[in-house]
């Protein structure tokens, strides 16, 4: 079991609310039977859309190319349940995310991939985004055990619920082994559920 606690690396500032999973990885890239190669298509359409306006998306900007801690605003990862979205981010190089809030399914998918998603309030999110834009290649550090972000000599408190934090710290974020250990309890519960007999 791999324990996930400290993530060190430079930040990637991605401003905006409601950045949905169709934007993180457009549906046409879901045509695949493995997750390999998704990283290079992260935000493909947003990148093109901004290029057309002469602007640069952070995932295309060379100064953030080695970034590993993604920072965004409210309701990050809303929409589709596609694990392809966090898979694309992880394969691009993201190892931890900080945002104001997340969609439930996206958050769960990130737990399953060992990518901690921390929450901060709106003012703090904007402050971190500003700082990263001013210090694009400087290392910042998140920690699940202390629920903190260290940036530029400052320590900022992060929110991570006890359940997923426990999973990162005891390695059970990769849940299958833990779940399999209770196989006999599963059978016992199943035998008590009335509808198990209903199926024709």
């Amino acid at each position: 079991m791999t324990i996930i606690d400290v993530v060190k690396g430079s930040g990637v500032p991605l401003r905006g609310n409601d950045i949905d999973t169709d934007r993180i990885i457009p549906a046409r890239f879901l045509k695949c039977v493995t997750f390999d190669g998704l990283g290079k298509n992260a935000f493909a359409d947003d990148i093109k859309g901004l290029e057309a306006q002469g602007k640069e998306h952070p995932f295309k900007n060379p100064v953030y190319a080695n970034g590993s801690i993604l920072v965004s605003n409210r309701n990050f990862g809303c929409g589709s349940s596609r694990e392809h979205a966090p898979q694309a981010l992880k394969r691009w190089g993201i190892r931890a995310i900080i945002a104001e809030s997340y969609s439930e399914i996206f958050f769960g998918n990130c737990v399953a991939l060992g990518v901690p998603c921390y929450k901060v309030d709106h003012v703090t999110a904007d402050r971190i985004l500003d700082w990263i834009e001013q210090h694009p290649s400087e290392e910042i550090v998140t920690s699940a055990s202390s629920r903190t972000l260290k940036l530029g000599g400052e320590t900022i408190a992060l929110t991570l619920a006890d359940g997923p934090r426990g999973q990162f710290l005891d390695g059970s974020w990769h849940a299958r082994a833990t779940l399999m250990a209770n196989a006999s309890k599963v059978d016992a519960l199943a035998s008590k559920l009335p509808y198990m007999q209903f199926l024709k």
């Binding site: 949905d20 549906a27 879901l30 809303c78 005891d170 059970s172 599963v186 199943a190």
Partner: protein
Amino acid sequence: MGKNLYQKVFESHTVAKLPSGQTQLFIGLHLCHEVTSPQAFAMIREEGLKVKYPERTFATVDHIIPTTADDRRRPLKDAISEEMFAHIEKNTRDFGIRFFGPSTEEQGVIHIVGPEEGVTQPGMTVACGDSHTATHGAFGAIAFGIGTSQVADVLATQTLAMSPLKTRRLLFTGKLKPGVTAKDVALAYIAKLGVNGGVGYAYEFAGPVIEALDMEGRMTICNMAIEGGARVGYCNPDEKTFAFLKGKPYAPTADKWDEAVRYWKSVASDADAKFDDEVEINCDNLEPMVTWGITPAQAIPLNGNMPKVSSFEGSERKVIEEAYEYMGWQEGGKMIGTPVDIAFVGSCTNGRLADLKAAAEVIKGHKVAPTVRMWVVPGSMKIKKEAEALGLDKIFKDAGAEWREAGCSLCLAMNPDKLQGRQVSASSSNRNFKGRQGSPTGRTILMSPIMVVAAAIEGKVADVRKYIKG
């Protein structure tokens, strides 16, 4: 103190408390499609695992499958789609899972097939690698979308590591006027509570409006729960629920029916059930709703005005600016009268027989405007057959619409059905995200299926109420 349905079902499906603090939850029904499952099967193969309860998983092919008979011939023209199709066939065959494939006439959009086959039942937990899984909540099941790693967890263990959600009851009071549908109710509450209003909550949809809806309408409302941020949405089971299920292929047989109904009634929320939050929405004056922007919460009544950028501040303002920039509408204007290029009736939101019947009734005797291409895509091959028996296909074709085979089609355009360039689509589906319908610059206006018909007839966003008799 009484309990609500969510609390009862979560409790009765709790296998264990995990060391992390999460709950290990038993999954009564697992549904699979070809997009989010191949990697999950690869994971369990790699780990040398078996599917623990193969009889509790059902699969179909819906996202990538073309919707014309010609294009459905194997091998599919698109090589990757064919590979995905072949994977789900092989995976279900190898692991002993029931596959509702096109050759069986049971194929369709997974959230339409589940209820249609009677595998979706009250008091179950239902999981599927698809965010619109809450659709099954219409039957009084706790149904939610999961990612691919969790699909592998369910295959291998029939359980998931979860945390319980808080509960919010949305009480819909009043009565819907003619021309106002379940879809409008869904868009209205999402607009009111916001695209992330439901994060952390399971929604109970209740009140006279819900009780008066048929099962199809309840499915439409539960289907859209995730668009308001709620992973789970459900209605309490009642006589309509039981009547819908009776006689379905996988529904309990006569000898088990009474016992089943007793169980189903027992899971409904108690009269004195407590919720963490409650919101009342009166629907007496609800109008048909249309979206104007790039999230389902950016919806307005048909005769309402789009918002002014200046009435928002900070990050909210940026969201509104971004929507105007993408859609290209006049700030503060109306959506009614906006020209459309494509009209789409279908999807897990509004591709059921009741939707097709209502759409056919409106379009009968009219023609699709020459500037519009209209697709009618039944949610399943059974629905297609039933609709054809009622002559609905002829009504649509006579009006100039295309009558298709079952699939997800233009809802997310992972198949040949796509918008081109800046095309505008009047769509009965569930998402108006940027690029959602297959063109990175395409535009989607969400509305009810009968509103899609009105838009198809007039070639622009129009009021369906003038086409409704009586």
